[in-house]
């Protein structure tokens, strides 16, 4: 886990419209922190022609519009111009993100109609359903990155005992807020979608909001704890939404 990040990231072209800055190849919190710091820096100081910044586990992808980059730098080689601009910008990025990571509590109603596969996960793990809930809600998870769906957080730290293979045939419809386990990962579906994870519970809170501004409740670098609640609290929190 303590693998150090490369001092200067390696830059790779991803076709003609993106560059990837690779800070390492291992799943590691320090490497991920560098990636997040770099993304934060670029989002605060956008490069001309840049259209998107995607901080992932150990690499940062920077999307750009080649025509805008070419026009700004007066060049016929926008990829090289963007690579130079990015290299320069990343050299100035701090090693640690400025944003203070938070610990986010996600209330979850486990089992029953809220988590149809809880029994299956329990059976696989050899634990009782109560123990599965206790282990899952007793762990603190680290948010590496967002992806898959708006506001979907990739969490690290699932207890090995709860590792459960994905369903053989994915469900056509997983309700929004469902908490699942797929392989060695756990997470919350922010939207209704097809999905192949084992569903163990559901949260009544909206993890992604876009009424005024797009807002993800959980952000990379945060710690997540699941708080077991009953059906009555689920309904009460749901009504408050």
């Amino acid at each position: 886990m303590a693998e150090a990040a490369a001092n200067t990231p390696q830059l790779h072209a991803m076709g003609d419209r993106a560059l990837v800055a690779e800070y390492g190849r291992a799943l590691s919190v320090p490497i991920n922190a560098r990636v997040r710091a770099a993304a934060e820096h670029l989002l605060a100081h956008p490069l001309p022609g840049m259209t998107d910044v995607v901080p992932a586990f150990a690499a940062l992808t920077v999307h750009f519009d080649p025509l805008l980059v070419a026009a700004h730098h007066r060049t016929a080689d926008p990829v090289t111009a963007m690579r130079d601009a990015l290299q320069h910008a990343l050299a100035k990025a701090p090693d640690l993100p400025k944003r203070k990571a938070r610990t986010v509590e996600i209330p979850v109603c486990y089992g029953g109609e809220f988590g149809e596969d809880l029994a299956l996960v329990a059976q696989r793990s050899g634990l009782s359903e109560e123990d599965v809930v206790q282990v899952h809600s007793g762990t603190e998870y680290y948010v590496y990155t967002l992806g898959f769906l708006p506001g979907f957080a990739y969490l690290g730290g699932l207890d090995r005992r709860l590792v459960t293979p994905r369903l053989e045939s994915p469900r056509k419809r997983v309700p929004a807020g469902s908490v699942g386990i797929g392989g060695d990962q756990t997470g919350v579906y922010p939207f209704e979608t097809p999905g192949g994870w084992n569903l163990i519970g559901r949260t009544p809170i909206a993890l992604f909001r876009f009424n005024e501004e797009a807002h993800a409740v959980i952000e990379p670098g945060d710690r997540v704890r699941f708080l077991a609640i009953g059906p009555r609290d689920f309904q009460a929190l749901r009504d408050k939404r």
Binding site: H12, A13, M14, G15, D16, R17, A18, V20, R25, L27, A39, L43, T51, D52, V53, V54, P55, A56, F57, A58, A59, L60, T61, H63, P66, L67, A70, A76, D77, P78, V79, T80, T145, L146, G147, F148, L149, P150, G151, F152, Y154, F191, E192, T193, F208, F210, A214, A216
Partner: protein, 333 residues
Amino acid sequence: MGIQIEHPGLLSTLQDLGRTGLQHLGVPVNGAMDETSHRMANLLVGNAEEEATLEITLSGPRLHFQEDAVIAVCGANMAPMIDGEPLPMWRPVRVRAGVRLLFGRPQIGCRAYLAVAAGFDVPAVMGSRATAVRGAYGGFNGRALRKGDVLPLRSPEEAHTARWVGLLAHKQSRFAYPNWSVSRHKMPYRVVPQPLRILPGRHWQNFPVVMREQLVEAEYRVGNDSDRMGYRLSGPALDARRSHDVLSEGMVTGAVQVPPGGQPIILMADHQTTGGYPVIAVVIGVDLPVVAQLAPGDTLRFKLATQEESYAAAIAREQQLELVRQALAVRLR
């Protein structure tokens, strides 16, 4: 008042140039699969290129116009008919309230784009009118059109469409159009399939030389399970075993991913923001409309290109669009 959907077709969604700037929150870009046809259709009715158009896929809808409109259809030729008469594509057409526009099956291509002067009156969600079917937001109620829907149209400002209307109003028929259209050479794809130009991907070097050669020599078939998220190809398998395990990272539209089975997938407009399969190559931006117009069962080939060629092709496309823009300005003067 607007356009009533009497039959939705296979998959008809509002799309625009996509929802950019929020990929760090996991928000996919979406947007028109064939950007060139989308932009051209908007251009022909005097809209900004960012305006939403209706993307029509493989099997066409039947639309009932409840009000007058100036429209243009570009992209795949799906034999559009207005009240039983062929509707010419790649030019502005004035239609009267009451007409029915029917699309059939594509003779060439896979996706047609319908632009309406002044645009569809749907709210922008997170800065875009593109439909995100997964997530169910944007476009028309966050979903594909259904029978009975009424797509609201924005009222054209008089000055905005006066020139178009003036051009076409002398005819009293139910629809009218000029005798000119966009030249065949300005269309985004050809009847004769072109090889897709690719650049080496992020993990190109991780694939053995024979595999890289195979990618450009072999013919691939577009699978039936291809959609707006990705085109699943079948052909000689690409051995990805020698490629190191990769952590998920930001993906780009046109990325040619190689999952463990070895059958490549080209990521398209609805792809997830991140992905974890090795990327052997990336289709250049200008050729994405060519991919978008391939239908399941079609075959394709790849051709290795350079960054210089990609940029030259991007400039050439902008010049083509600019020529159309200028020609239109002259015609409407």
